[in-house]
Symmetry: C2
Subunit: 471 residues, 2 copies
Amino acid sequence: MAQKPSIPNGTRDFLPQDVARRTYIFDTIRSVFKSYGFAPIETPSFELSSTLLGKYGEEGDKLIFQILRSGNYLSKIETSDVTDTLTQNDFDKLPLEDRKRLGSITKRISEKALRYDLTVPFARFVVQHQNELTFPFKRYQIQPVWRADRPQKSRYQEFYQCDADVVGSDSLLYEVDFVQIFDQVLTKLNIPGFTILINNRKILSGIAEVSGEADKLIDITVAIDKLDKIGQEGVEKELREKGVSEKAIEIISPLFALSGTNEERLAIMRTFLKDSEIGLKGIDELEFVLEQTKILGVERAIVEFDVTLARGLNYYTGAIFEVKAHDSGIGSICGGGRYDDLTGVFGLKDVSGVGISFGADRIYDVLKDFNLFPEDTNANLTLLFANFGDNDAAYCMKLSKQLRAIGVDCEVYPSNAKMQKQFKYADNRNVQFVALIGENERNSGQLQLKNMTTGEQQALTETQLMTFFQQ
Amino acid sequence: MAQKPSIPNGTRDFLPQDVARRTYIFDTIRSVFKSYGFAPIETPSFELSSTLLGKYGEEGDKLIFQILRSGNYLSKIETSDVTDTLTQNDFDKLPLEDRKRLGSITKRISEKALRYDLTVPFARFVVQHQNELTFPFKRYQIQPVWRADRPQKSRYQEFYQCDADVVGSDSLLYEVDFVQIFDQVLTKLNIPGFTILINNRKILSGIAEVSGEADKLIDITVAIDKLDKIGQEGVEKELREKGVSEKAIEIISPLFALSGTNEERLAIMRTFLKDSEIGLKGIDELEFVLEQTKILGVERAIVEFDVTLARGLNYYTGAIFEVKAHDSGIGSICGGGRYDDLTGVFGLKDVSGVGISFGADRIYDVLKDFNLFPEDTNANLTLLFANFGDNDAAYCMKLSKQLRAIGVDCEVYPSNAKMQKQFKYADNRNVQFVALIGENERNSGQLQLKNMTTGEQQALTETQLMTFFQQ
């Protein structure tokens, strides 16, 4: 009985061209990470549920895919016992007692869950392998993660993260390196313009302190982080709703319109934060990173101090990064920051770290929208030998073996089909050259090579063919 | 509260050296696949359960990891409702009614499952995308698969498969190519000796036919496939138990001792199968592949016709391949064969295909046991700049940026720590060179470069340093 085949919502098949383009992005990121001394690690696709649950907040927990303990439970049950599928809707209508029972059972039969991001597994990895690692430990990791998000455009249930982190050092040189890495990768990918936004969590703490609302730090930062989306009025409204005093709002509001060069902004903020020790420390750190970046220079990046940048606040403790591509309509394509206690939850205290993440899927969308993929991500095969029959094919098989040895990707058409069909295959596969070698050509020692782009055809000896591709 | 971190049984963390070594294996396989005209695809980690279940037999189904519909079910349940974990043992002790109920519930709340191999998802892919693909469609796929197997040495719950398949052609040239691919990959990986065993399912059918037990084909093949493990006597015993007649056993038995060159074996089998049309077709096919292979030549492989080779019989319809590394004590490291109706179950009939698979984890074990990994999979970082303070570090940051631009992986030590500590870091990371640039060196324009392997140290100008690494 034939099934109509499909894949789960929110997942994707990648055809050869997709894979070539994605590989191009991953390879570019990987080569830059490597050039800065980051070494690759990989962690299992699933972790113990206890490693992941409770690390991403209530909303995050809901998005973690749990795996049943094994298929064995199911194998003892006849399929005929299962009459229908329980949708979330059905589930929500069940009496609380039943829901509890069902949840209890699923928790009892599930002990593993798919990785939700690369950060928590990395923290677990560092603690578990601490005696095998050299600190500061610099790792990169390019692997898929899974989230039970409602599928929508550019949001998938399976997608790749490309992370680089250093743990075990609070040196600001790493922040300087990460700004360079953003600039190098995105310049190599040929993205025409992009801005690296940078802030420091200590500056945000200073702002809350100076406004007299130190205990409302999180409310304040969550609100001003939304400036982009809801505007100054919206932010002020939210601050009021959270019980931030009018006086504090009056103090904070001028920051929304902070402008000028980074140096001018730093000067304004240094004055603003003059009574906050932590705030001034943030300014010092940020100033160091910006100064060093100026000395080193950047290729295409605009580096901008954005005092409203917060991102995942309860996590970062120092630098905060975000990168946006210009004119793309696609949100942030990279992020990152410093954290002081990522490994604490797994029992290793006081390990400072800093890391960044490239959003490969969003970068893919930017490159696609701007038509920036290099030509050779379209190419599929260099050379196809047409097939005129068993004896000719055997000769071509021998020749193709020699060509592969000098780095030419090639193949022999598998059967003596009509030429039209063989050329159609070459067209569809985007083959660059077709070699025609029949009995006449073998006898004369002159084969025909057709350039599929220009349509030109030339006669070559076997030796000339080798030389042609060695160039 | 600190948790003691660990990972699920049967899964692995890969440290930088592991990743480098695995990448070396994958890259080698990938480059050869590509040189033979295979293009990469990727499929989602999880498929709809209906795509996978029922495709791997009863035993296979038990090993498929099912994923819960989403985390939402669990999120509404208090953790306190869950008192203990239900082990397989506990489960087996439950009354049948309860087991059915539990199984029924889990089936209702699970609709996705992790990929068990790459073959069934590939068949689904071909049918789903048939209008976007060019046939014969040649794809390779290197991705992890998951099996709920009991973990043991060299058997993991998550491991990589490296497959290449062609669908949409019955040309034997692909069989010839696959023999070459086995030889090329394993030679490039420097495995000293290996045997490519080859057989044809039609020969097995012919044997059953000639022995007068055509209807017992599967029993006969399953039995003789075990010759390696249980010997001739064991096989004959199993044949008897399956009801194969003494006369048939007498006819089949001489095949266990088949020896001589491939040509001699073919000649013996051609006589043996002279009354079986399908058997003779199998001989013709195999002879073609062996002859073409002889013309093309092989590097290190021994190619051997093994009439007892069967492998996953209910699947293959033509050629059958298996590769074993010599003197390794590790079983087969590659396999493959031709199948005539892989896509039929998804509604696309009469599509012949042939494919092979490299067992990356077993190959890893062979390379490790024989100490065959290349030196550069150990290297981690080319150059470390020692750090003598902020000003020197800023200078080194600039220099390292220039070196990266010419392809040198390098970094600056993050803080002005004691030299002993910095050198220890360089040692642990297996750094090749350490550059020493303090105030004196900056003033004199002569930096010190230490070779960490030889211990030699030399004075170089900045320009000489660039030239040194450009060589």
